[in-house]
Structures are given as structure tokens and as C-alpha cells.
């Protein structure tokens, strides 16, 4: 796949910044493509995993942080496991997602994924554990279009007692709320 990048918008600090935050040796990558060959979600990505590394290497900050790829990465760690240069690509995706959120650059086309993470974490913040029904409820309010596909499985889950309607509150839920406060992104 050919991609065009406006080199005027690149900055050599980006690779350094990523390396400093994550300890990942981005420069080690020699673009063999093994990571991409084994990536289960590559078929849906806008940039292949090795291209994401390349974007970081050349300092194409915006392209990397607004990519859909970083959200589509399923964190399966196949890439890092197989990389001959031991580049931690899966971990790099973590850092790029975090930076994209901090800078408000998360690609709106993958809003389902970011909305899911938000709903999930809100449930943890509130109750200390996941309350599936509450989490689902919040997620479905945020992304109503996804509701339809799950209607098919809901009755089975309720009939088999697999969905609990009570939130799983833990005793230390205030301590959990404090953890969230202290770990707020910059």
C-alpha cells in the first residue's frame, strides 16, 4: 500500500518523545514486515503495523496519532512476540493511543471502540468492579447503532442468569475513585 505523507509536518522529536515515554527502541525496526504479516486485524487497518513504526521513525506525528490502526489493534502481542529486532510494537500502540487521547486526536471513525473503553472504565470508577448491565447501558446510550446486534443474545443471557442487574459495589470503592483521580491523564 502506498501512502503519501506531507514531510513539512514531520518532527524529529516525535520518535524521541515516544521512545522516552515507552522505552521502546523505535529506531531498531528495519521494516521487514513480519509484524504486519501476523497481525490479525491488519486487513482493517489504515496503516499497517510496520507503517505505524515508520510514521514514528520519520516523525509523522499527526498521521500516527489520528490513525484508525492504533484503535483497531487488539493487543494480541503477536507482533512483538515475532519481531526479529524485539521491537515492542503492541506496547507502542498503547503509548500512541494514550497520546492520541491526551491530544484529543482519537480518530472519530473508531468511536465505538473509544466509547466502549470509556463506559467500561466509568463502571469501574463508580463500583470498583464491572457491572455488565450498567456498563452496557452506558455504552448503548453512547453508541445506539450497536444495540441491535446484541438484542439477539440478551434474552438468552437473562434467562440463564448471566446478566446481573445489581452493581458489584466493593467496600473500597472510594479508594478506587481516588486511584482514578490520581491517575488522570495530563
Amino acid at each position: 500500500m502506498k501512502i503519501k505523507i506531507n514531510l513539512d509536518n514531520t518532527s524529529s522529536d516525535f520518535a524521541k518523545e515516544v521512545e522516552k515515554r515507552s522505552g521502546i527502541k523505535v529506531k531498531e525496526c528495519y521494516q521487514c514486515g513480519k509484524c504486519t504479516a501476523g497481525c490479525p486485524v491488519a486487513y482493517e487497518m489504515d496503516y499497517m503495523p510496520n507503517q505505524i513504526i515508520r510514521l514514528v521513525q520519520i516523525g509523522a506525528r499527526r498521521e500516527a496519532l489520528t490513525s484508525r490502526t492504533i484503535w483497531l489493534c487488539a493487543s494480541c502481542i503477536t507482533c512483538s512476540t515475532r519481531c526479529p529486532k524485539e521491537v515492542k510494537i503492541a506496547e507502542l500502540m498503547d503509548v500512541l493511543r494514550e497520546m492520541a487521547l491526551e491530544e484529543n486526536l482519537a480518530n472519530p471513525l473508531e468511536k465505538n471502540i473509544t466509547a466502549f473503553h470509556e463506559s467500561f472504565l466509568n463502571s469501574v470508577k463508580k463500583h470498583g468492579r464491572i457491572s455488565e448491565v450498567w456498563m452496557l447501558n452506558e455504552y448503548k446510550m453512547k453508541r445506539p447503532k450497536t444495540a441491535l446486534q446484541d438484542l439477539a443474545v440478551a434474552p438468552h443471557m437473562i434467562a440463564k442468569g448471566k446478566l446481573s442487574f445489581l452493581p458489584h459495589d466493593i467496600k473500597g470503592k472510594d479508594a478506587i475513585a481516588r486511584i482514578f483521580k490520581k491517575c488522570k491523564p495530563k
Binding site: A74, S75, D94, L166, I170
Partner: protein, 289 residues
């Protein structure tokens, strides 16, 4: 042997994959270990914290290790591989990064639990209870072909988890052999099922699980055994949707390894939660005689 139990949100009572937790506990009553739930455990943050906020993910996980150490457990059983993977990686991260360790201690208001050993369910069974199983086995399933599906989280990253081979793991296969069934050779043991995308990108999950189910079918599997609630949900709960989307029929039961062990030990299928699956498990239950 006494062990701290960290069920995690997905398999605790009243959750979507509670049959995994139930069957682990039932089997533990017969072969061990003696398990005690870690008091007031909280969610590890799973893929959502890990995907979006490293410090939060580490703090949410380490809090549970600290609680375990406070209650003097030397080892924790975390049957959900999302949990065990997060707990192990977070422990390593605070061991190696003094700044992060300080920040986490400030957030969780406790010293970091850096010593307690975290084990997944396959590890516990394989390390401590294979003899126990061989002694107490009541039923076998001769000729019943099981595709052992490990997924991602049990085996990767291998250097941190140090559990089994990331491309061709064997621990579940050994357990299946010990309980009188036949593990098969197949190529999808550690392929990704799409994990946490089941609600947000169901299309991705449907494609990846179709490949896995097809691989199992072609290898002649009668059932797929798993040790992960996400793998189970994606392969079992979504199987109808996959069949509809790809206009085909699989009808492959997806069972937890703990349920299979339970059947071999002569425990009743309902108590093990085998009635809670989407794909009918009768063929599995009938295979054990």
C-alpha cells in the same frame, strides 16, 4: 495448598462467564487448591485501562496484588487470562520502574505487591494437580477430539509470562490427555479471537472467530476447550451470528477446561455450568462415560 483467589469481573457470580468461575471452584473442591477470595478485590481495568492509560492500568492491577500480600497469600490464582496477564505485567512494570512504583503507591495508598506469584488456571492444574486428577478420574471420553484453544493472553508476551510456548503451547493438551480425551493438532491455538472487540467491532470478532471455528472443524474437533472468558464469549455467544454471516453451520460446543475436568471427575454438568452455554454441550456431556 491454600491460594488467594482473584476471580475478576467476568467470571464472578452473576457475570456473563460465571460458569468458568463456578466450574473452577467445583473442581478445586475435589482436587484442590483450597481457594480463598481476596477480600474486596477490584477490577484490573482489563483491556480498557490498558489500552488508554498505563498508569491507571498498573495501579488498578497492583492494588489487588497489594491486597493479596496484605492477607499473606504467596500465590494467587487468576483464572481469567486478561486478569492474570494484566496482574503479571503490572507487577513487572513496578518492579522495573521506581518512578512508576512511587506513583502507583501514592494512588493505591499501599505498598506495591511485588512478590506474590500470579498463576493462571492451566498453570495451577499442570504444576500441582496432574497426579490428583489421574487418581480421582471417574470418567473418560475415548476418541472425543478436543481442539485446545489458548488465545493470546495466556501465552503472550512470553518473556514476561514465562508460561508456555507462544506458537504451540502444550499445557492444556496435556490436561486434556490426562482427563481421557484426545487433543488434536491444529493451527489456531494462539490466534487472536478479537478479544475485547465483541461489542465495539463485532465484525472483526466475527471474522476472526470464523477462521478459528473453521480451523477446528477442518482438524476434526468435536469441541473446543478454552481457559478464557473472552475467547469463550466470542466463540460461543457469537457462533450463531458467525453462522448466519457466513451462511454455514458449525455447531461446535465451546467448553472451559475446568468443565471438562469436572466431567472427568464425575461432577454433574449443571453444577459445572454446562447448561449456560449458547451452543448446546450435550455431545460433550454424553462423551464422558
Amino acid at each position: 495448598m491454600k491460594i488467594g483467589y482473584y476471580p475478576g469481573c467476568a467470571i464472578t457470580k452473576g457475570s456473563s462467564s460465571e460458569e468458568y468461575g463456578t466450574s473452577v471452584m467445583r473442581v478445586s473442591k475435589v482436587i484442590g487448591p483450597e481457594i480463598e477470595e481476596i477480600p474486596d478485590w477490584s477490577c484490573c481495568g482489563a483491556s480498557s485501562a490498558h489500552a488508554t492509560n498505563h498508569k491507571l492500568s498498573t495501579a488498578l492491577s497492583v492494588r489487588n496484588l497489594s491486597l493479596a500480600e496484605k492477607h499473606e497469600y504467596k500465590e494467587i490464582l487468576a483464572p481469567c487470562p486478561m486478569c492474570s496477564q494484566r496482574l503479571i505485567i503490572s507487577q513487572k512494570d513496578v518492579q522495573e520502574d521506581a518512578v512508576l512504583k512511587r506513583e502507583v503507591e501514592d494512588a493505591i495508598e499501599m505498598p506495591c505487591g511485588t512478590k506474590v506469584k500470579v498463576s493462571n488456571y492451566l498453570e495451577i492444574v499442570k504444576n500441582y494437580y496432574m497426579d490428583e486428577i489421574k487418581q480421582k478420574i471417574k470418567k473418560t471420553a475415548k476418541g472425543f477430539k478436543v481442539a485446545c484453544y489458548y488465545g493470546c493472553l495466556l501465552v503472550r508476551p512470553p518473556k514476561v509470562l514465562k508460561f508456555d510456548d507462544p506458537e504451540d503451547p502444550q499445557s492444556m493438551d496435556e490436561i486434556v490427555r490426562a482427563i481421557g480425551a484426545e487433543p488434536i493438532e491444529w493451527e489456531f491455538k494462539t490466534n487472536c479471537c478479537g478479544g475485547g472487540f465483541t461489542l465495539s467491532r463485532t465484525d472483526v470478532v466475527v471474522k476472526l472467530t470464523n477462521d478459528i471455528l473453521e480451523g477446528a472443524e477442518e482438524a476434526g474437533a468435536h469441541a473446543i476447550a478454552v481457559a478464557c472468558p473472552m475467547c469463550h464469549a466470542n466463540l460461543d455467544m457469537r457462533q450463531k451470528k458467525i453462522e448466519k454471516e457466513y451462511k454455514r453451520k458449525f455447531n461446535i460446543p465451546i467448553v472451559y477446561i475446568s468443565e471438562l475436568i469436572g466431567l472427568a471427575l464425575g461432577l454433574g454438568p449443571i453444577g459445572l455450568g454446562l447448561d449456560k452455554h449458547f451452543v448446546d454441550t450435550k455431545s460433550v456431556v454424553d462423551a464422558y462415560t
